[in-house]
């Protein structure tokens, strides 16, 4: 009925692997904890390079009408306006320049006055490609809702995992999610990348993706707990991770491939977003295997609690 040629696929990723993940769990777990601590340290010591969304101020993207931008002249011209710290950065093509003004003292109107000064200065030689001005009121609001969004995201996901599984699983999930968030934030701090609203969107998606992985592995752990009544927990965790390994790798590969396409071809506006996602997907995959699962071992979960209470839900899978 369906004229699809019948051909077999290639097994990219090995099956029936018996990698002893649990052997590395201590070293990986503590390495992760160390990475989290370092990220926190960076966050507090170095801070983040907040974009206009969170810091307030203006961002102006210019394109030289002549084709090439004279950054030095621009720096001189705009520096003479006495608008505090003015960052000028060439990006993309030779004619494209990004100008950042810090938040001007004097409330909402001062931002607009500063913008007017800059635009009247560069009007002749440059085309205004993008202007973003965020006043003090809006930036502090966005800071607040951004933080709430990430925390609420973690909370909602953890609640869902707790509801579907057991609290031990939820604990592993919290740790894994915090790990992914902290490390991404730490990386942005370390590299001084601009942290703005789209980075928060990336963080939330990373959370969604990472828990996706965690859930797939947890599902298998629960199933195996039911199936192999006598297997030692460590061995069972190993088995579950190995069984789902080919899926984990394949899905990560497809996601990473499209993200690389976005990073290289998707344009400058979303580059930071894609970069955060790419890093987060790798870290998220790692944390599902090396944090969420080992936590179950550290917690010494009892088979009875999980299998016993899951009888009702278990029918769907049998």
């Amino acid at each position: 009925m369906l004229p699809i040629p019948n051909f077999k696929g290639v097994d990219f990723f090995p099956h029936d692997t018996r990698i002893d993940f649990m052997r590395f769990k201590d070293i990986c777990f503590w390495a992760s904890v160390a990475a989290m601590v370092i990220s926190l340290g960076l966050f507090f010591a170095k801070g983040l390079n907040y974009g206009v969304d969170f810091k307030g101020g203006s961002m102006i993207e210019l394109k030289a009408k002549s084709g090439t931008a004279d950054v030095a002249a621009l720096r001189g011209d705009l520096g003479a306006l006495k608008l505090g710290d003015v960052q000028i950065q060439q990006f993309g093509g030779a004619g494209e320049v990004l100008v950042r003004l810090e938040q001007q003292p004097g409330g909402e109107e001062a931002q607009q006055i500063a913008l007017r000064k800059v635009t009247s200065k560069v009007d002749a030689a440059y085309e205004l490609r993008r202007v973003e001005v965020v006043g003090p009121a809006v930036s502090s609001e966005l800071r607040r809702t951004g933080t709430i969004a990430v925390l609420a995201g973690i909370f909602a996901i953890v609640l869902y995992v707790w509801f579907r599984f057991e609290w031990q699983f939820a604990l592993g999930t919290v740790l894994a999610l915090s790990h992914d968030t902290l490390l991404t934030v730490g990386l942005f701090s370390l590299l001084g990348l601009e942290f703005d609203l789209s980075t928060v969107a990336a963080l939330l998606t990373i959370l969604g993706y990472s828990v996706n992985d965690t859930v797939v592995i947890s599902d298998r752990i629960r199933e195996n707990l039911r199936r192999f009544k006598r297997m030692e927990l460590k061995e069972l965790l190993n088995l579950s991770i190995n069984e789902t390994l080919s899926r984990t790798l394949l899905t990560s590969s497809t996601t990473i491939i499209v993200l690389i396409a976005l990073l290289l071809l998707g344009g400058s506006v979303i580059r930071n977003f894609t970069f955060a996602m790419l890093f987060g997907i790798v870290v998220g995959t790692y944390s599902s295997i090396f944090i969420a699962a080992p936590v179950l071992d550290y917690m010494h979960i009892k088979r009875e609690t999980i299998v016993g209470e899951e009888k009702g839900a278990g029918n769907a899978k049998a």
């Binding site: 077999k8 205004l128 490609r129 993008r130 009121a137 969107a201 993706y209 998707g266 344009g267």
Partner: protein, 539 residues
């Protein structure tokens, strides 16, 4: 499990076809689609401002200013009401956030409180649901004084009204430009969002909508100069106004205007026939004309001031009584500023001062660049994903590609029909959905492989693969949905666009991965059987 009732297969096919038809308009330009016959679907995904270029301005009412205005109008009201009731006040002043009335005769205070409560305080809220109250509280203070305090509810009420009226005014101003696609909507309690597609130079727009444009005509003090007034105390009822007429720096004017801009019925830009200077000719309504006529009749030979937003535009000398109710304003206008101001005067003053608290503008060239970059990334991402899937799962990989194709169609169709805006982060969400949607197929196929390896017959393995993977798929997609919903609720601008496509993508992914894939696999099985092949799972 792998047998589908006829109606089921038909409805799945119908949904996919609907997706195909409803997403078609997006492949064509707006003009082409407009020319289509009526029975064809025409809805396209609206493009966000970041893709089509345009201006996004968030305006906020200045609540301090609003409070100040209210208090001074309260003062006038209180004074008037008390005079009319012959309960003469010794003074009525704004003190802190209140209006303090001191009466000449302390024994009048009960009567005065009653009078103020009934005539100045206004009922607000809804008596039926028990939220009724007054917008100001009137209470007796020390001695012969009465204190009028605005209530919180009263202020909110006033703010809401001011925003509503401002939205109307901005709409009138913007519509006068002849662009119909702009939107002006309330955001929160004290903000207005103005979106203006296709506009990259916001300077003109900001001048047009940001200016209060409160016009008034004032009496100039006959003898005292502003400098004298500033040194001593200005006479009661007078204040110093800065000037931009080019002759003097400021004028001493009577606070209460002779006539105000709301009594104008028309204002047009033009050029003075003698000097060639740009002017605005205006016409008053009947009441305004009468007031203006009476004033000019009594003050021939003396100047009066035309004030715009607390700045004197010009202060001409009255040569003769102006009884016809029309006149002209000069104020060193440029052609542009005369046109803008005339438009603002015609559409009315903003009831309150608005400040721009957020601006995001994207030029059309960057928007177009983003669209093409997004398209390229999507196509490359899609091809790479498809190649990987076909390599990894053979025939079933092809089926997954079909499912992915319909998934994209359904997302596009849903967004077009519902009118969800596609933004640049939205494209990123779409591309990401591509990568993540195949996860559901991967889960199913990996499961089938496992079942085959554990020795099940092909058909058994396929059935087990679908049913066992389903719970996992649901779990993993629902957790992502939780994150997406939070992004939508809490997120602003770019986050929202991303959350929209992500959530739509989750629903369509579940549908295509589970239903469409299963139907295609069932058809493939039927085909194998019909050709009497020995069934081999091609994964």
């Amino acid at each position: 499990m792998l047998h589908f009732a006829r109606w089921k297969s038909l409805s799945i096919v119908a949904v996919c076809l609907a997706g195909l038809i409803l997403s078609l308009p997006n492949l064509f330009s707006k003009e082409t689609v407009k020319a289509w016959p009526d029975w064809l679907p025409k809805a396209q995904m609206p493009l966000g401002l970041d893709l089509q270029g345009g201006a996004h301005l968030l305006l906020a009412a200045n609540s301090d200013e609003l409070k100040k205005d209210w208090l001074s109008s309260l003062r006038e009201d209180a004074r008037k009401v008390l005079r009319e009731a012959k309960l003469y006040p010794a003074s009525v002043n704004v003190v802190g956030g209140t209006v303090r009335v001191t009466l000449l005769k302390p024994q009048d205070s009960d009567a005065a409180v009653k009078e103020l409560r009934t005539k100045v305080a206004q009922q607000i809220g809804n008596a039926l649901i028990g939220t009724a109250g007054t917008d100001i509280a009137v209470a007796k203070g020390e001695g012969a004084s009465i204190i009028l305090t605005p209530t919180e509810a009263g202020f909110l009420n006033r703010q809401t009204n001011a925003i509503t009226a401002s939205i109307e005014t901005i709409n009138r101003r913007v519509n006068a430009l002849g662009t119909s696609e702009s939107t002006v909507v309330r955001q929160g309690s004290d903000r207005i969002l103005v979106q203006f597609p296709g506009l990259s130079d916001t300077k003109g727009l900001k001048d047009l909508i940001g200016k209060t444009a409160k016009l008034s005509f004032h009496e100039v003090h006959a003898s005292m100069t502003p400098a004298e007034a500033q040194q001593g105390r200005p006479p009661v009822g007078f204040a110093v106004y800065p000037s931009q007429d080019g002759y003097v720096d400021s004028y001493l004017l009577r606070d209460i205007p002779i006539v105000q801009g709301d009594e104008l019925v028309d204002a047009q830009p033009g050029q003075d026939s003698r000097t060639g200077e740009w002017i605005i000719s205006f016409r008053f309504n009947q009441a305004g004309a009468r007031k203006f006529g009476r004033f000019t009749q009594a003050n021939v030979g003396r100047p009066f001031a035309i004030v715009l937003d607390k700045q004197v535009l010009s202060a001409p000398v009255i040569r003769e009584a102006i009884l016809g109710g029309s006149g002209q304003i000069s104020g060193r206008f440029s052609p542009d500023s005369a046109t803008t101001l005339a438009l603002q005067l015609r559409s009315g003053a903003l009831p309150t001062e608005l400040t721009i608290v957020e601006e995001r503008t994207v030029g059309p060239s960057l928007g177009a660049d983003s669209v093409s970059a997004g398209k390229t990334a999507a196509v490359v991402g899609a091809i790479a994903t498809c190649v990987l899937m076909v390599f990894a799962y053979g025939t079933f990989g092809v089926i997954a590609v079909f499912a992915l194709f319909f998934n994209m169609l359904l997302i596009t169709a849903t967004m077009s029909v519902v009118g969800m805006t596609l933004t640049l982060p939205g494209i990123a969400g779409l591309v990401l959905t591509l990568g993540m949607a195949v996860d559901a197929n991967v889960l199913i196929y990996e499961r089938i492989r496992e079942e085959v390896r554990s020795g099940r017959s092909p058909i058994n393995a396929i059935e087990a693969g679908f049913s066992r993977a389903f719970v996992t798929i649901l779990d993993s997609q629902l957790t992502t949905l939780a994150a997406a919903i939070i992004m939508f609720i809490l997120g602003a601008g770019p986050i929202r666009g991303f959350a929209v496509t992500l959530s739509v993508g989750i629903f369509t992914s579940i549908f295509t991965a589970v239903t469409v894939t299963r139907l295609l696999v069932a058809w493939w099985l039927a085909g194998q059987r019909a050709r009497a092949h020995k069934i081999v799972v091609p994964v």
